[in-house]
Amino acid sequence: MKNSKILGAVMAEVLLLLVCLMIRPDFFSISYQPSTGMLYGNIIDILNRSSEITIIAMGMTLIIALGGTDLSVGALVAVAGAVALKLLRWDVLEYNTPGDYTVCNFFWVLVLPLVVCTLMGMFNGFLVAKGGMQPIIATLILMVCGRGVAQILTDGKQFTTGYAPFKVIGQGAFLWLPVPIIITVVVVAFMAWFTRKTAFGTFVEAVGINRSASRLSGINAAMIIFIAFAITGLLSGISGLIYSSRIMSNDSNNAGLNYEMDAILAVVIGGTSMTGGKFSLAGTVIGSILIRTIVTLVYYFGIVSEATMAFKALIIAVVIVLQSEPVRKYFAKRKGAAKS
């Protein structure tokens, strides 16, 4: 029973992959490209392209398990890109010599965006945990402001960079796999360890089920909520670095657009209830991959990219209706009737 919710998403994913296989018999083929040292194939591509959402959805899972939502993640993706490109751009302006792109250490180019995003996540967490605001509204503030901050940081301009070490994050290869996949695996592994091998995951579920009861039993509920939002901010920053490294530029208007929606959907498809309580990181990963598979499948039918939304909506509607309480109760009843 515990895994029945994930099962729906897994079955939908398998079904979609079978449809892909029917359309393209070579769907699962993977080839090696010696020039880039990377494996190529549809499966690799789906994993690669879903990594931004998967990383954010890891944090979103915790927040949804706590009974909230974080709408600001898309804006934080834009902020991370703006900060990183601002640091990379300064150097171009001051030195204007190729190969000498950074004044400040490249280390700071990676760390400062993450610090800024973590601080913004902490701001969300503070408003929710200490201010007692509804998460949806508290994060709406940064969702509205965030892109404005990103625009002001970069003076409303779009910078491009050619700095090779930065390119590795989004387009490089490690162990024959694209680096985003490796980052995703590391993040997922860390989050799985952090929530299942420490008490943190249990605390999150306890606070999500009943905040006052968990506080009375000695859990620092406010601190748990604060940490969850800070983690989500950090993960949005990582996702933003990957995004801006893919396009080697910052795009304050479009970077991370609708990521909050996709991340929330990934979590919900993965079987974590919006009302809070139990969560499943594995389900979230599957949900994120499912969303990307739908997009890939729709491309195969030669349909324009914006229209994928309609198909996304249809498949998600089916998964969510199947997961909904009355439908599951109905099936459980029928199952029980068949047994007796």
Partner: protein, 342 residues
């Protein structure tokens, strides 16, 4: 006298006072800083209505949805879809715009009712249901066309061009106010919707049920109120408002585009929240929402008058306003709670 004071110190009214007060303060600051450049003219004031009428129309429905404790993220996409129906229908298929509008109404209200049904009977959270609705509407919109289509029809032109000029008497003759100020169809529609919304919320059984559901859904059910019907109808009404907002936007820009009004749903929610609507449900009013829309539209107006600031500061100012209002709401709610328990 004390009864009046007690009635006026109802927490619901305090939020309206805060909204109106901050609006007047910002308007006064604008008048002080840019009064000599024409900030105080009737034209500037009326333009705030003209430029934001479609937000306002949508905010009427959104306020009701928020009062029931729900949320609707599909409004921007449905409005965009309406614009696309009108543009594609009239310009490419040569159908009469009235038919297109009627068709949009059927689709928009139908989608709203469907989402309400899913929320009520399948127990899917409103956020997820309406998010799916948003994806669906936006996707269908993109399936119809990816390019911006101009609307070319005499009826749309005459509707968009219809204006009432403000006149005043000079030496016994009626002349137009200088600088010329007028209201158009969108503004009238916006104000009519506000009046209709106020009437529904304050004077009908349906409106009382909306407040009751937002206050405590379980109690409302136990009292025997028609919760299911009310909730479904509220989402249907919001669908109607989205379609009218889409029509008003189509008249405003005279074209349909699949990516128009992206993110409008959150702007609309922002308008309602700074207008004093609580997202937990049960509290909110149309007058508040009207001033919420005005408050949100005065920021871009000020930035335009300043002329030096980047428009991005508007986003930040809106966010700060939102923060301010949520803080005021928090204080008011805890204050009224303490008063009730005392």
């Amino acid at each position: 006298m004390s009864r009046i004071i007690r009635k006026l110190s109802n927490p619901m009214y305090i939020m309206i006072y805060a909204t109106v007060g901050i609006f007047l303060a910002i308007y006064g600051a604008g008048a002080w800083a840019y009064g000599d450049r024409g900030f105080l003219t009737l034209r500037t004031f009326v333009n705030m209505f003209i430029d934001n009428a479609y937000y306002g129309i949508s905010a009427v429905g959104m306020t009701m949805v928020l009062i029931t404790g729900g949320i609707d993220l599909s409004v921007g996409a449905v409005a965009s879809l309406t614009g696309m129906f009108i543009a594609y229908g009239t310009t490419i298929l040569h159908i009469h715009p009235a038919v297109c509008i009627a068709f949009s109404l059927v689709v928009g209200v139908g989608l709203g009712l469907l989402m309400g049904w899913v929320i009520e009977y399948l127990n899917v959270p409103p956020f997820i249901t309406t998010l799916t609705g948003m994806f669906l509407a936006r996707g269908v919109c993109s399936l119809i066309s990816r390019e911006s289509i101009n609307i070319q029809h005499s009826m749309i032109d005459s509707l968009a061009g219809w204006k009432i000029y403000f006149m005043h008497q000079v030496n016994g003759n009626w002349v137009k106010v200088k600088p010329i100020a007028f209201v158009n169809f969108n503004v009238i529609l916006f104000l009519v919707m506000i009046v209709i919304g106020t009437f529904i919320l304050q004077r009908t059984r349906f409106g009382r049920n909306i407040y009751a559901i937002g206050g405590n859904e379980q109690s409302a059910r136990l009292m025997g109120l028609p919760v299911a019907r009310t909730k479904i109808l509220v989402y249907g009404f919001n669908g109607l408002c989205s379609v009218l907002a889409g029509l008003s936007y189509a008249l405003y820009v005279k074209s349909g585009w699949n990516l128009s009004l992206q993110g409008a749903e959150l702007d609309v929610i922002t308008c309602a929240v700074i207008g004093g609507t609580l997202l937990t449900g049960g509290v909110g009013s149309m007058i508040g929402t009207l001033f919420g829309v005005l408050l949100k539209s005065i920021i871009p107006a000020l930035i335009t008058f300043n002329g030096h600031l980047l428009s991005w500061w508007g986003k930040i100012a809106t966010g700060v306003l939102l923060l301010l209002f949520i803080c005021i709401q928090g204080i008011v709610v805890s204050w009224s709670g303490r008063k009730r328990s005392a």
